[in-house]
Symmetry: C2
Subunit: 184 residues, 2 copies
């Protein structure tokens, strides 16, 4: 169901195809929402049937028709209603990395250390991507589309990701030290 709202959110920016939506999911929401084309296409079909979207087919040579989706007033209403819902939960998410670590007592010190060091490396690389590429991408998008109000929230979420990653990095550094010194 949530995928529906993600798609409505993007279609509220303007008409586009399923393929376009996939690219947007991959470049902007990927860290907190993503989906495969094989999930997006049927979902769009259902939303059209439900009256949340309309389609225009644009014939193309050598490729399938381009199906350009438009959000309807009903679709906009459904989106706004969802967006207005109170955020009254702290969401438990699923994180296999933490599950690993939770049972890591069963492993020997060296294996644990190499796992922690690998995570540390990956998160440092991710942080620099968020601080450089993602930040630039958001500024470009604001400039090109003129979505200043929306841009405030995009940037806020980017900073959230950066802060969370910094926290992870500091924690991993401490964890490595602790395992090195306190684990036999």
């Amino acid at each position: 169901m949530t995928l529906q709202y993600a798609l409505l959110g993007f279609l509220n920016y303007g008409p586009m195809t399923g393929y376009d939506l996939k690219k947007l999911l991959d470049t902007s929401t990927q860290m907190f929402w993503h989906a495969e084309l094989s999930q997006i296409y049927p979902q769009l079909k259902k939303m059209e049937k439900d009256g949340l979207l309309t389609v225009i087919c644009e014939p193309q040579a050598g490729k399938p028709d381009k199906k350009i989706y438009n959000i309807t007033n009903q679709g906009r209403a459904v989106l706004l209603q969802w967006l207005s819902e109170p955020l009254d939960e702290v969401l438990p998410d699923k994180d296999p990395v933490l599950l690993h670590l939770f049972f890591a007592g069963a492993l020997n010190k060296q294996v644990i250390l190499s796992q922690l060091r690998l995570q540390l490396e990956l998160r440092r690389a991710y942080l620099s991507r968020v601080e450089v590429e993602v930040a630039g991408f958001i500024q470009d998008t604001i400039r090109v589309t003129g979505q200043k109000r929306e841009g405030i929230f995009w940037e806020l979420i980017r900073r959230f990701g950066a802060e969370q990653t910094r926290t992870s990095i500091a924690w991993l550094e401490e964890a490595i030290q602790l395992v090195e010194s306190e684990l036999s």
Copy 2:
């Protein structure tokens, strides 16, 4: 598949029932892994069929037989193999709260502020639970079971949750200020 490893991880501590496992998932891993009984029972059955577990049925009056599961050597090998896998990904998780906020530009200032304030309240409450109850629960468990080595990791993960929550709180406070001052 990951649920299997969570169950193996707990059964590696000692024999127990599906009902027991559900309670453990609810009290210790709930923030990074959880499952319903309707998923746990069939999974245990499958794991027994696969030779990762053995069962002993203990008849009870007025209740269904208690089915006590034991991890086998093969189960232990499967668990250790999974635990040893390199943690070579930064996991994208799904977070409807961030998705909300990503599209919050479509909402008016007051609705956004009340949503952010609600999240702030919830996370402050969660942090105090992690710092008091969860911390106490972990120390009790270490004392009662004597799992000192495992306890190091439980405590590490608890601190991770606390740090991430602190980061969220600081970020929400900033976000509220920014929305108050910079959004019309």
